[in-house]
Amino acid sequence: MKLASIPVCFLMLLACGRADEISFERDIRPILSARCVACHGANKQKGELRLDAKRLALRGGESGPVIVPGKSGESLLWRRVSSTNDDERMPPDGKPLTAEQLAALKAWIDAGAVWPESDADRAAANDKRREHWAWQPIQRMTPPNNEHPIDTILKTKLHANGLTMSPEADRRTLIRRLTFDLLGLPPTPEEVEAFASDRDPQAYEKLVDRLLDSPHYGERWARHWLDIAHYADTHGFERDQRRDNAWRYRDWVIRALNADKPYNDFLRDQIAGDVLRPNDPEAVIATGFLAAGPWDFVGQAETPSPVLKRLARADDLDDMLTQVMTAACGVTINCARCHDHKLDPISQREYYGLSAVFAGVKRGEREVSAIEVRDLAARKQALNAELQQVRTEQAKLSGRHFDLADIVGGGDGLGTGKLGEGIDLITGKPQSAKRGFLEGAKPNIFARSTAKFVDGVVIPDLSPEGTQISSTGLKVMKPPRTSGQAWDAIRFGPVNSHFSTKLDGVDYAADGHTLLSLHANAAITFDLAALREAGAPAEMKFTATAGYFGQTPKNGASYFVYVDGELKANQKNIGRDDGGLAVDVVLPSPARFLTLMSTDGGNGIGHDQICFADPWLVAAQPPPLSDADKVQLARLQQRRAELEKELAAFPVPTKVYAVITETPPPVKLLKRGDPEQPADEVSPTSLSCVSGLKPELGTLQSSDGERRKAFADWITSPANPLTRRVIVNRLWHYHFGAGLVETPSDFGLGGSQPSHPELLDWLADELLAQRWSLKAIHRLICTSAAYRQESSRRTRESSVTGRGNGSLTTSATTQAIAIDANNRLLWRMNPCRLDAESLRDSVLSVSGKLNATMFGPGYRDFEYQEEYAPVYRYITPDSPDLWRRSVYRFAVRTTTHQFLTTLDCPSPANLVPARNTTTTALQSLTLLNNDFMLRQSGYFADRVKANAGTEPTAQVARAFQLAFGRKPTSVETAAAVSLVQGRDLTQLCRMLLNANEFVYVD
């Protein structure tokens, strides 16, 4: 069609000369969209005609083609809209098209009906996949009032299949089920007894409420969410470095869930908290969600190769994007990275549209509050300023001092030097003229100085021969590597183009202070012997406030102080933020040379303005003081000690591993997903297949914050049918062991169909009605009869013996298994194996060793060894600080935890919507023989002894109660007593922790 239209179009252009003025997108599509598409579009296709997509419009409808390029007279479209017959004219309702619109349409068709196919066309033409249930609006269903809505819906389907629900489980089973489900821990025997004997008809509902109010609820359910976020405390990949402040996000999730933070806000903060409420530390911490996944240090930072960096960043963005879209919307967006999604109506362009949402987001450690940073910095500056003042006062009381700045200025150290004078780094001679970049300066050439008390100067750099620092040939063997360049001269006062003489609010150019500027790279050696000859004391002290006086908050400049070539003081990579740094170096009587050095970190000498303020040589022993001076000195000493103490313990700003926002770079569609094959630029957009929402999320110019805000709005819009369906299904999945949709992170065409679509929608709708309260949905689910059912498949014993009236009969069970072996219709509750973390927590709970401390940095049950790739060696957790709940474990991404991994704890490399449950011989070995399990068995036995005394029957009873929440039968008692008497209690406890009844919850 397109090919055929080209020559026609060309001819028409020549013929009528006005066709070039018609633009389909500008002139025609708006007419079609406004007046035609309501009946001839995605929702309605009257006459089987669609005018919202090129391919479909040109194909025509029931009556054949409606557009004949070049021939408006033969085009049904034109004939119908221009008809004067009211019954024939389109659109049937409202006013006819205007004369202008008609003219435009006619001209367009006559010019060849040029319709450049756009994404919208392609998307609109996209087949039936767009009708997939998950993209459609949520359907509200009104259940009858007389029953729990969940049960009404489930029973209808069960009955339709000839099935009924199983009877309600007994109370011991129910409290165990609920406690494990909501808290991830077993109930105490006392709680079991209290509930079993509670006569309150509302006892169950009250139990549900009590558990939902427990702080352990947040710990349990945060674990589920952290699975979905693939959270860990290290970067992963080859150099699996630590993220020491990632835990704040984990704590945020626990707190948010405990507080029942509305789910829409829960998501909004995690996606865009830092831009929605930049001054709220909690909102900033919430964005730890976006940063939770792995990060390749080698690919993103270490390698200098731009190709490798682009690839690593593309993978990084893919991880972030996939995490958010699968977690919140159950959309497997990652499948559209290299080509259009094979199953879902998601184009590759849409993938990059979403990628553009996160293009300005980097993972990284950051401060949680700019206000806190500012306040702390101000406080620290004030303390530092006072400290420097105190030090200066102190030095003044130490008697006559020799000022090295004065000496650099050509003076005798006692005030005869000239401010602004300096010493030339190449010649070692006095230098009055202002100089800039020292052309021709070479490193490691020591220049003897003619200045009084100055031995010489040198530009330092790392070299195999070392750096000579004195006229006697003293050498510093390993100065840092530098650029080998130098600036201006060593000066009394500021150097040329000095940024500021102030630091920590103290102006060192003011009276009473002096400044020795040692712009990198430079070193100067003073001759102490000569000074002594001139009257300086034998025993001296060098005191100064060293610092970075340039502009940069964080910098790579460093200073070093040597005495006779031995390093006595230094600070590396200091910037303006570091403030003034106290230098106090003892100069004993044999010491001859004092060397001060500054270096640039090897990256050039821009901004490397190191200075020594108040660089004085004072007597080591202060001279006799007047009484008033003594009092003053004591006061200064005390104040100095206080200040130093406070500064030493000065808090660092609170940090979190979360997101750092930047101006988004242009995002381009990458052909075949290859970063080296960029195509056109893509603006931030979301999925067009989701009905009821506009996909546009901004423009090419939108800031990172605008993009993420728009995206957070899109995700949490009440009109988004995915977000609410996905979360209620996740809750259902965790409560029942399988979701209504069995693929909790894939609601697309490749995922499973909902077993009860109307129930899914009712719950999703109820979430909105309950103002996005997750606890409300928990309460609904847990109080249903479906949730309270028995889980046993074998009820025939009870039926045969007459126990438990109302139990399913043998034939009913057999029938149910025949009809619905996988229990999709929920004719019974699903039993569940404890997940790895719950199992570990339960062992600790039963042994009495669980440390219930909440929040804070994760416990580290490993030895850490600093290496190129750090080494994490796991140890047996055998102290209270390591007996915290598993959710507080410092999770190492690459070195997975052997004990937990064996028990099916997934690797945080993966997004985990559902835990695998496997049964293996290695699990048996681990539960039997792992050092942790054996030690805990011992503690369990100790606890039983402490509770029940030495009588074996009482011990057995207590052990069963603690492990299973029930008393042993007489048969079990006999066998267990025999084991205790024949062997020991620890052996019994070890086996109880290995029992099926312990690891399976009914």
Binding site: V298, T743, G751, L979
Partner: protein, 510 residues
């Protein structure tokens, strides 16, 4: 009474459980009891019930659906297999093809010329250098006349068994991602490793040992760590089980209680018996095959306690067998032991054995702990070359002598190669994902052949460029598996080891 609670057969069986006692006496040493007796004692209860699992996501996979009872039950291949077992030797760090397997005469001619400076910036370290010919002399060997460098004098005598893929490439120049690609087909972590896919597709041949065993270097784990043999989203039962390579430690973690917490054999027996009875009664009340499977898993665990120490006990090996492995050599010995263990494991039905010839990079070692020879290739490749040459040649000869080579596929690879030029002024070479060599030998392989080439300088792949996809597709093919059919649904996609790529390299098949 408790005893009345059990069935008659249970009671009769409990008298025969002395096997446990003997078993627990071994504590890492030796077992005197016959295997058959032991199995009889422990295997009876649930008869054919072995492992079971509640599997999420297991939809369509191998030729035969996964048994609901035993995910490791031996499964039919898609078609007739040429090999039943795999030994993969992985040389982490980046083995330099131009100094070893891939003879590039043009490189000798260009020796000393400078490599393009701009292109040099794109390498991992970001500096080019001068072209450098191989640090070891190349010679032709065997009837096939394959060229091999003098770094591998012993393997040279096996070139007639080996088939080389000279056009391997990687999608990453970084150790971690490239390791993941070589092992799982993806440069990101989280995907199942080749060994996991193979056991997922074929199940286990052995009832007493894990199907997929990993033998790490004694110096530590390779770059990327455990992720290299992870099951990813496949059920955990398919992940590689690490068998301790050093003789001093128990072969499998938690195989026995730690020495300072040992349990007496009698107590162990009574405890296990109590546990079994408790579990049987519980399963009886509940009627769930999952519970029975868990009981069976404890029985399997007991069998593993016997078979694992036996598998790593080398005392029965003849002096003639041991000699070529040079176990007593402090440098070469540990890898020799890994190779010998691999042979013993294959003999005992372990499906997939992965050996690592090298560990993670650490800064503190004098000689690099793997093949990552940035600063001194003669020092590091010189060291590791002798290690690989000794162990791998001994393994090939040993398997061949026992008639196992025909059914065992040996794969030797690295995550990438090294550059044909020096890294700046260093005496080593930088990473080269553009081309490297892998070789295969044994089951179904036509020895003395090669496939693909690098360009004249060994810088990029030239003829028939290949990726791990092709190597994996070929290996799966030899095992009777179609790499396009072996898939597992995960988060929206039926995932494969070979992603959406992969061709069986038929040129090197027998």
């Amino acid at each position: 009474m408790w005893t009345d609670y059990r069935s008659k057969s249970d009671r009769s069986r409990s008298r025969e459980t002395s096997g446990i006692r003997e078993n627990t006496e071994l504590s890492g040493v030796r077992l005197h009891q016959s295997r058959r007796q032991f199995l009889w004692d422990l295997g009876g209860g649930f008869g054919s019930v072995a492992l079971a699992s509640l599997l999420h996501g297991d939809r369509l996979l191998a030729a035969e659906p996964m048994s609901s009872k035993n995910p490791l039950a031996s499964r039919k291949a898609h078609f007739a297999a040429k090999a039943t077992n795999v030994v993969q030797i992985f040389c982490p760090g980046g083995l330099s093809h131009v100094d070893t397997w891939d003879y590039r005469p043009e490189l000798e001619r260009r020796h000393g010329e400078a490599f393009d400076a701009e292109l040099g910036k794109q390498t991992f370290a970001g500096v080019g250098g001068n072209y450098a010919k191989s640090f070891w002399k190349f010679r032709q060997h065997g009837e096939c006349g394959r060229w091999l460098s003098d770094l591998f004098p012993r393997l040279a005598s096996h070139v007639g068994e080996m088939a080389f893929i000279h056009s391997m490439q990687s999608k990453s120049a970084l150790h971690g991602p490239a390791m993941f690609m070589a092992n799982s087909g993806f440069i990101r972590p989280g995907f199942p490793s080749m060994g996991a896919w193979v056991t997922y597709g074929l199940g286990s041949e052995s009832e007493n040992l894990p199907a997929f065993v990993v033998l790490p270097d004694t110096r530590g784990l390779p770059p990327g760590g455990l992720a290299n043999w992870a099951a990813g989203f496949l059920p955990a039962v398919h992940q590689g089980t690490v068998i301790e390579t050093s003789a001093e430690r128990p072969p499998i973690a938690d195989l026995f209680p730690p020495a300072d917490r040992s349990v007496s054999p009698d107590a162990e027996r009574d405890g296990r018996e109590f546990l079994r009875t408790l579990n049987v009664a519980h399963a009886d009340r509940r009627g769930d095959s999952l519970l029975e499977a868990r009981i069976a898993a404890y029985e399997l665990a007991a069998r593993l306690q016997m078979s694992a120490p036996e598998a790593v006990d080398l005392s029965g090996e003849s002096a003639a067998t041991l000699k070529p492995y040079e176990l007593d050599d402090p440098d070469v010995g540990p890898f020799g032991r890994q190779c010998l263990l691999a042979r013993r494991l294959v003999e005992r039905g372990v499906r997939f054995v992965q050996i690592f010839c090298g560990a993670e990079n650490t800064s503190s070692k004098k000689i690099r702990p793997n093949w990552d020879s940035h600063e001194d290739i003669v020092r590091d490749h010189g060291y590791w070359g002798r290690v690989l040459d000794t162990g791998a040649s001994a393994l090939i000869a040993d398997l061949k002598q026992r008639g196992l080579l025909d059914s065992t596929l040996i794969i030797c690879t690295s995550e990438f190669g090294r550059q044909p030029f020096m890294q700046g002024s260093q005496k080593g070479r930088d990473h080269n994902p553009g081309v490297f060599t892998a070789w295969l030998a044994g089951g179904g392989i036509r020895g003395g052949t090669s496939y693909g080439t690098s360009d004249d300088l060994g810088w990029h792949a030239a003829e028939n460029p290949s990726y791990s996809y092709d190597l994996h597709a070929t290996a799966l093919h030899l095992l009777g598996l179609d790499h396009e059919q072996l898939s597992f649904y995960h988060n929206g996609i039926a995932r494969r080891l070979t992603d959406v790529h992969g061709h069986v390299i038929r040129d090197i098949l027998a």
